[in-house]
Subunit: 221 residues, 2 copies
DNA sequence: GTCTATATGGGGATAGAC
DNA sequence: GTCTATCCCCATATAGAC
């Protein structure tokens, strides 16, 4: 049982304070590097440089590069769950789709790196995320597909393959994150702003509602 | 002036035969590796193993890893130009869009690796392809956008941002290549077949035509 | 012209100092 | 509990043999 009267613990709560700060800094730096160069292409040295630590310190807090990578992926999937699961509460296809698109685009605007890390992981065959894709993601897709089929049955949207619609939702919304460099060059911008998000979100929403044959409600104005 | 009576040149035309064969084999192996692990994540050793050569042989035919990488990118851009430029001959938005979608999906089916190499290059900030994006690609986008604006002016499709439409075309068609691992898992397939291509192509075409508000011609049958 | 043997540096990881 | 000094391997690239 460790002593309760530890002398130094002014900022945080004792033992784990430095640890928490360092781990957070390492994860943040790792996010940058892995997003640009993938798992193999990233060196722990570059991560260490990115957060001003010595390479060996990184290996102290995360035993191996893969442990660090897995921790980062877990953090990313966590951060994605909240805003996207909150969406499926609504019942009307119009609400569900437009909210989902907006939430997903917002994620691409907020932290494009995370999408890129996910993309790179899938592009190398998803060795680490395979289980996640087969279990949680597969389940989510099945439920969402069932909802879409329900809407089709009720005549709320035209007949289409739910899975293909899901792929299109994902691809379009992630494009602004994964291909950000190309998007910025062609849009002749230095960075994507909140105004861009609103504009693109409206464009994409309308496109998908029309593509699905969903009647849009009359806009108040 | 080299001797015309060279003894050994049965298969190809003298000097460059072995060279051509080796270079082709190396480029093919490089395509696999770069597609999975990006520029930094790929080792010349892995490429050598992939084509059954010694590592140093790879360095003989391509002085550095970057030279090999650039050669591969050039080859990819070449292969993409032909089928996609042939599309823009037609005048009607219906024809242009549906042919473009089909051609681009076919590329994703035929050689998904190439799309992934392009994706990885853009994801790391496009240090090598920056010039290509700024010059040739920018020009293509400008011309295509002008065509779209023309169609909008003629009332052939609804008003929308041409650039966003282009991004959606790219993202959806490339998704099946870049995220192939995820697509295969969720579609519960081992590989994507020609039938899948036809089905997906039809789905995506209809979706885009509706999304753009383009009237579809009456189908004969 | 082609391939083998070799140099030099950076990679991930750890044993031990503080 | 935290960090520094060090290990060993694999990476790219080349000099020289064939």
């Amino acid at each position: 049982m460790p002593s309760t009267k530890a002398k130094r613990s002014p900022g945080g709560r004792g033992a784990g304070r430095i640890r928490r700060e360092r781990c957070a800094a390492i994860l943040a730096a790792a996010e940058q590097e892995f997003a640009q160069h993938g798992f193999r292409g990233t060196s722990t040295q570059a991560i260490a440089d990115g957060c001003g630590l010595a390479k060996a310190q990184v290996h102290y807090y995360f035993e191996t590069k893969e442990v660090l990578y897995r921790a980062l992926l877990a953090q990313i999937l966590d951060a994605w769950n909240c805003p996207l699961n909150a969406v499926s509460a609504a019942d009307e296809p119009y609400d569900v789709l437009s909210r989902y698109i907006e939430a997903k685009l917002r994620l691409s605007w907020q932290s494009p790196q995370r999408s890129r890390i996910f993309a790179a992981e899938v592009m190398r065959g998803a060795p680490v995320l395979r289980d996640f894709l087969l279990n949680e993601q597969q389940g989510w897709v099945t439920r969402f597909s069932a909802a879409i089929d329900g809407w089709i049955g009720q005549g709320k949207m035209r007949q289409l393959d739910p899975l293909q619609l899901i792929f299109m939702l994902w691809s379009v919304t992630q494009h602004y994150a994964d291909y950000e460099a190309q998007v910025l060059l062609l849009m002749q911008r230095e960075r994507l702003t909140e105004e861009d998000l609103v504009r693109v979100s409206a464009e994409v929403c309308e496109f998908f509602l029309r593509g699905c044959g969903i009647d849009m409600p009359v806009v108040k104005s």
